[in-house]
Amino acid sequence: MTTENRADWPLYEVFVRSRNGLAHRHVGSLHAIDGTMAVEMARDVYCRRAEGVSVWVVPSASIVASDPAQKESMFEPMVSKVYRHPTFYEIPPDVKNI
């Protein structure tokens, strides 16, 4: 479909840590020649307003994702496991520090 596939640069997903203490967060994607250049491009494309202190790039093709068609079997069984949450347990109000 494309006229010059041999020169199409691969797609990278970009993750930026906005400041120390926070996790890297997905911010978008870009095309780059290789990982080294992708990091530089990510700095110029996604951190023009000092949005980050650290950048990760990942070739988009390397991401393995869950299948949305299986969303129900993947995630709904967790919804019913209420005993994993502290609010499931009734403790008399007189008991402190628990």
Partner: protein
């Protein structure tokens, strides 16, 4: 030479080089080989223009004649400009732009690192901020030199041609005249011998990775610091200075 006059002259050299090269790089905006690189080049142009603003602003204060950075940028003619001849050379193809940038960045990163230790606090402050930008520019232009040099036969040939064309313009970066001597003695400007040695190491390292041949150093072009420019600068200024010249006294 009187030290204040020497510092003014020196600041014009630094500031004009940033201004003129920033202008050249800004000409790419909207026309680069790929969108990501368009954005990267615009950042380089922005950094250089910002440095020009600071350096020329400081030059104007040192001069003390009521001029400001804009007056220096927009109301001087070509023979009063003090930029490196390398900076005013036309963009040419992407290889020319990148090689020109790399030769300049490698020089500026070393020079700013040294100037950050200047005895002149104003200049040291500007250099300390600028060195981070210059080091990033160097990284980026260096990466590109390697990729063009070791890419296809065509890109290799284009990069080598650019290198051969610009090499005679690199001697000017390390000249030491009366202005520089005065400032070196005062610890304001650095001795250029170690700067040149460090520059050469960077250049050799990147050219080796790029499989490009360093041209022989023969006759080096000179004249930028004396206002003896090539023909292209006049056209650049005609474009850049059009509005302030056409509407004298207007504020923008």
């Amino acid at each position: 030479m009187e030290r204040r006059a020497a510092l003014f002259e020196y600041l014009l050299r630094l500031g004009d080089s940033c201004l003129v090269l920033g202008h050249r790089v800004s000409e790419w905006c909207g026309h680069a080989p790929e969108l990501e690189e368009d954005i990267a080049l615009a950042n380089v142009a922005l950094d250089l223009t910002g440095q020009a603003d600071m350096l020329l602003g400081y030059a104007a204060r040192i001069e003390g004649k009521g001029r400001d950075a804009d007056a220096l940028a927009f109301l001087r003619d070509a023979w009063d400009f003090r930029n490196l001849l390398l900076c005013e050379r036309a963009n040419g193809d992407f290889a020319h732009t990148i090689v020109r940038q790399f030769l300049f960045d490698a020089w500026q990163a070393e020079l700013y690192a040294a100037l950050a230790r200047s005895t002149d606090a104003g200049l040291a402050g500007i250099a300390a901020k600028g060195v981070k930008e210059a080091q990033y520019h160097l990284r980026h232009s260096g990466e590109w030199v390697v990729r063009l040099g070791d890419g296809t036969d065509e890109s290799h040939a284009r990069a080598q041609a650019a290198l051969d064309e610009f090499w005679p313009f690199t001697g000017e970066m390390f000249e030491t005249d009366a202005v520089a001597t005065e400032l070196i003695a005062a610890g304001i400007a650095p001795d250029m011998t170690p700067v040149e040695a460090a520059w050469m190491r960077t250049v050799d390292d990147v050219l080796a990775q790029a499989t490009l041949a360093r041209p022989k150093s023969g006759w080096m072009q000179t004249g930028g610091s004396k206002g003896r420019h090539g023909e292209e600068l006049g056209h650049l200024l005609a474009t850049m200075q059009f509005l302030p010249r056409a509407y004298p006294g207007a504020k923008w």
